[in-house]
């Protein structure tokens, strides 16, 4: 499991280079990074800005748990993940995931899984601001219900 500083939620711009450096090691030959940026157009609708909110201590804890799980699942990987909160403009970075591994396959798989799973259960929410209104995303999806499901974050059987 990575050091605490490898998993954090912050109002400051994300230190991409620092996160990459935090996973580089002599035994690693590959680092893959996923960076989520604020996209202007979603399904033809123009976003002006986003506001992210987090249940910060739980989000950091869940990021760390997810990182530890991925490090166990993908051999030789080291993971760092950070999410920004507050108001973000178009093209600003909302999330950075960095994964190193001896060989590239493990890093690609782990970073892909990391972003999928952050979107499933890490307690962070975004509000989209448009010219004609704003909305918390996620909440409007009538087909999303956690009830009567397994707890989010529980790993599927392999």
């Amino acid at each position: 499991m990575g050091e605490k500083r490898n998993y954090f939620v912050t109002e400051e711009p994300l230190p991409t280079e620092e996160l990459i450096q935090s996973v580089i090691r002599p035994e690693a030959g590959a680092v893959t990074t996923f960076i989520g940026t604020v996209r202007e157009l979603t399904e033809g609708k123009r976003t002006l800005s986003l506001t992210y909110e987090a249940y910060k201590p739980m989000a950091e804890k869940k990021l760390a748990q997810l990182g530890a799980e991925l490090e166990a699942k993908y051999e030789g990987t080291k993971v760092a993940m950070a999410h920004r909160i507050g108001k973000l403009e178009i093209s600003e970075t909302a999330v950075v995931i960095a994964v190193s591994s001896p060989h590239r396959d493990a890093s690609f798989k782990a970073s892909r899984e990391a972003i999928e799973r952050i979107k499933e259960f890490v307690p962070i929410w975004k509000k989209e601001h448009w010219e004609d209104g704003e909305m918390w995303i996620g909440d409007q999806l009538e087909n999303v219900s956690y009830k009567d499901q397994k707890k989010p974050g529980e790993e599927e059987s392999p």
Binding site: G36, K119, P123, I124, K126, W136, Y146
Partner: protein, 78 residues
């Protein structure tokens, strides 16, 4: 006393980020009912996950005095 936290749309609807339950011990299903009664304008109290002390729970888990309960509506980070 048990602290209850709201986030995102639920926080806006509730008009507050937190409130307190006076119970010494209360199951998750009951917490949902209490919140529904206290904040009739808050939607999604059934749909949200409930966390106790930063861990997701099942409906029959119980919060006790000193615990922090959080309603986690469907997330949209990343």
């Amino acid at each position: 006393m048990i602290k209850v936290l709201f986030f995102a749309g639920m926080k806006e609807q509730a008009g507050t980020a937190e409130y307190e339950l006076q119970q010494k011990e209360i199951a998750v299903a009951e917490i949902r009912a209490k919140v529904r009664a206290e904040f009739p304008g808050v939607t999604g109290t059934d749909r949200a996950m409930v966390a106790i002390n930063e861990e997701f729970t099942n409906e029959d888990d119980t919060a006790r005095t000193g615990d922090v309960v959080a309603f986690i509506p469907p997330v949209s980070g990343g």
